[in-house]
């Protein structure tokens, strides 16, 4: 059973994530000709075992994910996940190409990787800024499958938690649900909470 997380810590975490998402939206707008709006995200914290019940719009549908793994001060994996048809629609909208089919070819996968890279870096950058510790990251990689399959190979000792960040990507006339899923070991999550507590202590 997960210990009760102080609501103020969760609020600070939400705020950090929100800043990261905002930064990502700014970069996407500068890079693309399309106007990209990322809605204020909904943040939830769940146990790894509950993952398949979450991300409702993805359950059972083919999904596409961009993922970065990391280790060092904290260990885990962060992925941006879309249903594949939504991912294709998003890439067409961002590149300004006419919609052809709800699938991704190799070039589109690379484009999605850049979009995922920007969003994940936004969130991880915000968290990294408060940690000020050494973390090593893998280059982003593209996966397709189902939500529960994305983290199957991630090896983390002990209890695993997932921070689910649900945001809506609005580009041109389309809007697509995207989920940033941050899989962490409980000890890594505690380290983040501890830094947040320090931050709150400094602020008060």
């Amino acid at each position: 059973m997960m210990e009760k997380i102080p609501e103020s810590s969760m609020d600070t975490l939400r705020e950090l994530i929100n800043i990261g998402i905002g930064r990502a939206a700014g970069i996407l707008n500068e890079l693309t000709r399309a106007r990209v709006i990322l809605e204020v995200p909904v943040v939830e914290l769940i146990h790894m075992e509950e993952l398949s019940c979450h991300a409702a719009s993805l359950n059972g549908t083919p999904s596409s994910a961009v993922r970065i793994d990391y280790n060092g001060y904290i260990t885990g994996s962060t992925a941006l996940v879309f249903n594949t048809a939504g991912a294709a629609a998003l890439v067409y909208a961002i590149t300004g190409e006419e919609f052809e089919k709800p699938e991704l070819d190799v070039m589109m996968e690379e484009t999605l990787k850049e979009v995922g890279n920007i969003c994940i870096n936004g969130v991880m950058g915000s968290i990294g800024n408060i940690l000020h510790e050494r973390i090593t990251y893998t280059p982003p990689r593209y996966d397709k499958g189902t939500v529960s399959s994305f983290f199957k190979k991630t090896i983390i000792d002990g209890q695993m938690l997932v921070i689910i960040i649900n945001t809506r990507f609005m580009v041109s006339e389309i809007d697509v649900d995207g989920y940033i899923m941050m899989l962490l070991g409980f000890s890594s999550f505690e380290k983040i909470l501890s830094k947040i507590a320090e931050l709150e202590g400094d602020a008060s």
Partner: protein, 242 residues
Amino acid sequence: MTGIPGNTIWKNLEYLPLGICIIDRDYTVHFWNSCMEQWTRKGKGELTGTDLRDHFTRIKRTAFQDRLGSIFTGSPPIIFSSQIHAYIFDAPLPDGMMRKQQTTVLPLEHPSGYYAMFVCEDVTSLTEEIQAYREMKNTALIELEKRERAEYNLRVANEDLLAYISEATVRLKTPVSLIEENLREILREVELGNGDMEEMIIIMKLQIQVAATVVENLRELNDAIIAGKREIPVAYRNMIQE
């Protein structure tokens, strides 16, 4: 190559079939491999120790530098996809077009600070192949759509033609039945031996007229089918013209 400790490891990157460039946080070039030399037509001597931004205009862009800045603090690697950026390094092909590039920038940790390593992949051929495949697929889909429409039109035309022939048959059946009935009547009268020759001649003349009308109707139907007259159903006529 500059005198940064550990650069012997970088030597191993010299002959990779990927463009490799390593810079420090001031954008000073410390490593430029032979693939980069070949693609950009700029040699190591020209690049090493100089500011990368002085050689490649796209690297001067604020949006690019804003993203790259985090690499020097050890952030996650950064990807620049070919669909969004087309290319980062000006690397002309013989026809003057620039090579399409997919670039990943990785932070390289060193005691003196982080360096940024650009790993650049030429995806020109891949892009062209995907474009060609897309065009081929689109053409095939358009042809398939045309064929499905033509098949549908043919089906509709056949149904209309059958309905038209059925209607024409009904129109012809009435006078032919009348001829048959009248000829049977004449035969019956002759067999009974009570036929009035004058009356039979009148009836037979009438049958000849009716038969002539039937023949005329059949000829008109034949002409209509061959010449595509108005009487032929529109869908069938359109199909013949197509």
